[in-house]
Amino acid sequence: MIEAIILSVITAATPLLLAALGELVAERSGVLNLGVEGMMVVGAVAAFAAAQAAGGPAGVLAGAAAGGAMALLFAALALWLATSQVATGLALTLFGLGVAGLAGESFVGLPGVKLEPIVIPLLSDIPLLGPMLFAQDVFFYLSIALVAGVAWFLFRTRAGLRLRAVGDDPAAAHAVGIGVLMTRTGAVLFGGVCAGLAGAQLTLVYTPQWIENITAGRGWIALALVVFASWRPLRLVAGAYLFGAVTIAQFHAQALGIEVPSQLLSALPYLATILVLVIIASNRRFTMINTPAALGRPFVPDR
């Protein structure tokens, strides 16, 4: 039973982790993209459609591509035309939910394609840990690899330093010759691809079917997780898994007949998030160091 619980925690946490990781990179470059939910849901419907037509792996690619396309739309408006990031992000979410509903109309009521797990030989034979960590779907492996990759990129490479510089002081970065808009576009695109993958996980692994509004607010949770993790990739893993664990634990507690009000249990993940945020916010210096200073501010290079 422990194994079953942990497996469902992984399934619940992976889309949050993927979407939040993408947003983290975008926010590190100073762009607040509130369209995560919209990019996710479009990724979800694209993945479902491609998987129906050409199988699971095509679905994964289509999800990533669709999320990326949505992100480019956002970049064109919010970065190159310098519209308000908040308003554009919200519009992207509304647009995404609408477009996905429209595109998915004929998929409602169709059973989906479930992506087969990739079983790693030998390692998956390790008792207990093997089936949990080495017989997973591609999204789980990707999420872990991307977290490690992003952590290394942001804090150990010159390009990562540039990206953070753009997020902290775009004018200064511009002055020393860093292409602010190109850097930000790249970061936003990465965010969109990750959100698209997170959406694809929903329709290919979590619940292999298309239903409108299948994301059910997960994009917003991913946004909150970025703050929760104070823009640090490794903390994101802790946040996503804590959130996933609390979500799953409440159902097991109920099924076991433990007498705790179910509304309280439903609220637990959010209460835990608030608690951690309060603890983080109480350390002002820490918050100052990690928050991208120019987050959400449009940058127009003067010529």
Partner: protein, 357 residues
């Protein structure tokens, strides 16, 4: 495009879903849904009813709908916009729209309002309607107890309102009529529609040893999890057979078409009057999907029960029935009144756990 705008309204931006008008002065029937029309469950079935109205009356009617309208301040605004835009009859299809429907109805006495699953008719232009889904739940309870090997079913519940509690009680009454010791594990997901949470709840229940799943939420996710894990399950609101061809035992199907046709017809003829309708298997508002994936004798018994409920010889809520704590609720042969059933807020004997407040 219609859908896009509807979505925008749900998120709090004003706008309208407006298919082209057909002929001169058609009657305008408008529908407000709590979920997306593509949920393949509750809202999907209401929308099927709307399409039935279009088919029946053709050019005489024009229909509109708003989907994913949340139960709260948004609902009142959405209903009011409909009323202002010239709708002749407005169907509000979720319990949580009850107060908003009555408030708007007071301001628009010439518009007819129809609220599903509620009980407040504060103005002469408000009717209520509901279906006796509990009749179906009694049948699936019987099937569950007959098919289950572990003697334990999992029940994925949404919100602790009388409608849902009535369903749980009816399910257990059916189950106890076959196996008096039958157990049910209930998980509340506090949502009508969240495929991910419903799937998680299903996995948790299966992990704890139930071998039958039933749900009072709107998505097909639990059926799919049951199919993956190789246990049996019951569909909800629509026929979910395609999501579990070797899993679904039967499904309680909502059919709102006949009622919507009758009520819209009454508006067209000018004969609409306030009413409180609570129909079930007999009238066709509730239907059972084919009895599949079970031995023939259990299916035969289910059909028998269905027929008995239809012709009135069997009423699930007939005494002797005790409340959870063992006190008597209904004496031998006594039937629960409609009011008691509509306000039901306690479990019957044999169900463990407390109802969340």
């Amino acid at each position: 495009m219609k859908r896009l705008i509807a979505c925008a309204v749900a998120m709090g931006v004003a706008g309208f879903a407006a298919p082209a008008a057909a002929s001169e002065d058609p009657t305008k029937a408008c529908f407000i849904y709590v979920g997306p029309v593509g949920d393949y469950g509750w809202s999907y079935q209401h929308d099927r009813g709307r399409l039935d109205v279009e088919t029946e009356f053709g050019d005489q009617v024009e229909t509109q709908f708003l989907e994913s309208v949340s139960e709260g301040a948004d609902a009142e605004r959405a209903i009011e916009r409909f009323a202002r835009s010239g709708c002749n009859i407005i169907f509000t299809t979720s319990f949580g729209f009850m107060d908003a429907t009555n408030e708007v109805a007071a301001r628009f006495p010439d518009v007819k309002f129809e609220h599903a699953t509620g009980y407040k008719r504060e103005h002469p232009n408000v009717s209520t309607y509901n279906s006796k889904f509990y009749q179906g739940r009694y049948i699936i309870g019987q099937i569950a107890a007959a098919v289950s090997e572990t003697g334990e079913a999992g029940y994925i519940a949404s919100f602790p309102i009388p409608e849902v509690i009535r369903g749980i009680n009816a399910f257990m009454l059916g189950a106890q009529s076959v196996n008096p010791d039958f157990q049910v594990r209930i998980v509340w997901v506090n949502s009508w529609f969240d495929p991910g949470r419903e799937a998680d709840a299903a996995k948790a229940l299966i992990g704890q040893g139930v071998d039958i799943l039933t749900q009072h939420t709107d998505s097909t996710a639990p059926m799919q999890v049951a199919a993956e894990e190789g246990i049996k399950a019951f569909g909800q609101a629509s026929n979910m057979f395609r999501f579990g061809p070797s899993t679904q035992l039967t499904s309680i199907i909502d059919d709102w078409g006949p009622y919507y046709i009758e009520r819209v017809g009454a508006v067209i003829n000018g004969t609409w009057e306030q009413s409180d309708t609570w129909d079930g298997l007999l009238e066709g508002n509730v239907a059972m999907a084919d009895y599949t994936n079970m031995p023939e004798e259990i299916a035969a018994k289910a059909r028998e029960t269905e027929e008995a409920i239809r012709n009135g010889t069997l009423e699930p809520f007939t005494g002797p029935i005790n409340k959870q704590d063992g006190t008597v609720w209904l004496e031998e042969g006594q039937r629960a009144t409609a009011e008691e059933l509509l306000g039901l807020n306690f479990y019957i004997q044999g169900i463990d756990g407390a109802i969340p407040d």
